[in-house]
Amino acid sequence: MEQSLRETIHENPKKILGVNSQDAKVSLSYLTVAFVSLLIGGILGLVQGLERAGLIQLPSWLNYYQVLTAHGLLLLVVFTATFSIGYLYANLSHALGGLLPKVRKLAWTGFVLMIIGVAMVVTMIVLNEASVLYTFYPPLAAHPIFYIGLVFVVLGIWACCFGVFINYRHWRKNHPGEVTPILAFFTMGVFVLWFFASLGVTIEVFTLIPWSMGLVETTNVMVARTLFWWFGHTLVNIWYLVAISAWYVFVPRIIGGRHFSDKLIRLVVILVVILNIPGGFHHQIIDPAISQSIKFLHVFMSLSIAVPSLMTAFAMFVVFERTGRRLGGKGLLGWLKKLPWGDVRFLAPMIAMISFIFGGAGGIVNTSNQLNQVIHNTMWVVGHFHITVGVSVVLTFFGICYWLIPHLSKRKLTPKMNKIGIIQTLIWTVGMIIMSGSMHIVGLLGDPRRTSDTTYGGHEAAASWVPFEMLFAVGATLLLIGVIIQVYAVFNMMFFAPKGNTEYPVAEPEDDETPTPMWTERWGLWIVLLLMVVAMAYVVPIVDMLLNAPPGSPPIRTW
């Protein structure tokens, strides 16, 4: 029976009022910055691909490493961070019934701090004062303003972290005996991880500022690299956690099913939060200052993250099969046909999930000591993160846009826009298969990454890489077309799509599901365990690096 208006207002006010417009403004502002940086970063990506393939020659005022630094920072830091914050704050607002006014203020403070920070960073890159690549570790030294800009970005993220903690705590206090909604739980997990991840890079940047100013003569390169990867690898799993929040909570609803066990989802979040940070060490397998036995012990720590990943894969396939069968799918694989492949809100995250199978397998190669020797610093690594971040994460983000943005701007997703989305997803997928696939292969043939010219005086081994580099350019061209379509779609849905209501597609639990136990809410305990794991991983190598430190490196500028 249809609910009366009065009942609806009481029981489900969001249905009538839609999103709180002040909260929507926060999210939409972050999303706007995200997609503007996607456009700029995407153009820089194509420029890079063309230069690498030898098809264009960059003008004298712009060099390959500037482009590479800007592409990396704009996409890996700015795009992903602003998108994640916009999306997660929308989730928090939806799940907890609106943001607290002071939390909204914190989100705006974070926004302003991040904009100031990004402006400083980008200015320095454009002035060719900071061609230090996305990883910005010493001995390459940028202008001090570049590092100060990074401090602002981190402060912005912290403002958002504290906003989430305050809102979560407030809800907890006012709802004794209830578990927090799953979307708020995911948001809490992401921001806890973000906070502790950024501690490492903050310490690093604070040692680099006086060094780049010339106040301190040398810096300990190994410690800086270790602190960077403490943050750098955790960032990867922050994106991953954001992406799986959509897989677990929204995708089941979009295909017309229920979500998999609430308890399992929370367990995955907790495991990802606790086990994550030490994973950074597999980025340093080639680094000399870490002993072999420590690297061996770290294989366990890095691979432990495969446990929640496999739990996710299992849960998602169960949801797909269950839903497909409920919709009448027969036989061994008949349920696959029943899934809504023509709906971009499903297709994009589904391709993202499938690509994670390949991305995850490549990740195991990177983590394994012996295999890493073959692929370290080759184009394989570039191919790897273009398939993980560029497909698993980014296609999920793109898929989210098609319901999140119309919901926030109180508009509708039209069938035409859905079709544009499908075309965009397919162009993106093909582009990425061509680009990332050729990067993987040519990496195995030895093509180095982060190098503008790899002709090596026309050596025949280097010449064999050229056809693959041409394929990078082909893939990058398709990807830029994809970026342009996506940016068009985003701003169309934000400002021009027809007015209307778009559902926030949160999946419900199965009817017979047992209630989630309250112990999952013990964030204090999870944080202590996270710190214990960090201590286990980092005390030995860092004390060793400090007590047996080499003389240290002065700032070096290679450009």
């Binding site: 907890r172 004794p176 036995s293 420590i294 061996f296 012990l297 309250m518 112990w519 809410e521 013990r522 204090g524 305990l525 944080i527 202590v528 710190l531 214990m532 201590a535 286990m536 005390v539 030995v540 004390v543 060793d544 007590l547 047996n548």
Partner: protein, 185 residues
């Protein structure tokens, strides 16, 4: 009984020579990973002993205090540099380590913890915080090599590791005090 089997598997795994050699080759891993894992294996196996010898445990450990004292003594003994050194040098001491930590520390811990009053638990908890802080002070501060088998740098690493554990325990304590635990029941 499933837990007891897992405990036994863990115990056998830890006793495998390559595993024991690897874990003992790094000082901090020896003290802060191998030893706690041995205690954990005993803790898991305790169910078997509780089932087999209920009268014995009831008679000698009815209020949990004798068991927890045994646990504290055994663990504290293995925090001594000399004890670790001898475990590597003398086979007999190594054997004693593999018997004492699981069966004289792990098993009594499981049997005693639930029987203890909250004050008893607090005392044990505080004792370990203080012990780790003192160890950090000694191991970081000592200018001379305390173990023949481990270098000075490893000793300092162990000190910092102990400090990190003490810090984690204090943070855990603070969140227990400041967050209403009845929220999670």
């Amino acid at each position: 009984m499933k837990l007891a089997k897992y405990g036994l598997v863990l115990y056998i795994f830890l006793a495998l020579p390559p595993v024991a050699n690897l874990l003992e080759s790094i000082m901090i891993v020896h003290m802060h990973m191998q030893m706690p894992l041995l205690v954990a294996s005993g803790f898991l196996m305790a169910g078997f002993f509780q089932l087999k010898f209920p009268n014995f445990l009831e008679k000698w450990n009815s209020n949990g205090i004798p068991g927890i004292i045994l646990f504290v003594i055994i663990w504290s003994y293995w925090m001594l540099p000399r004890a670790m050194d001898e475990a590597i040098t003398l086979q007999v001491v190594e054997l004693f380590k593999f018997i004492s930590l699981p069966f004289l520390a792990g098993v009594p811990l499981r049997d005693s913890w639930k029987k203890l009053s909250s004050i008893g638990k607090d005392i044990v908890y505080l004792y370990f915080i203080i012990m780790f802080i003192v160890m950090a002070w000694i191991y970081i501060g000592s200018e001379s090599q305390l173990c023949n088998n481990y270098l000075l740098v490893e000793q300092k690493t162990l000190g910092w590791g102990s400090l990190a554990i003490a810090a984690c325990m204090i943070i855990y304590l603070l969140q227990l005090i400041f967050i209403d635990q009845s929220e999670f029941e």
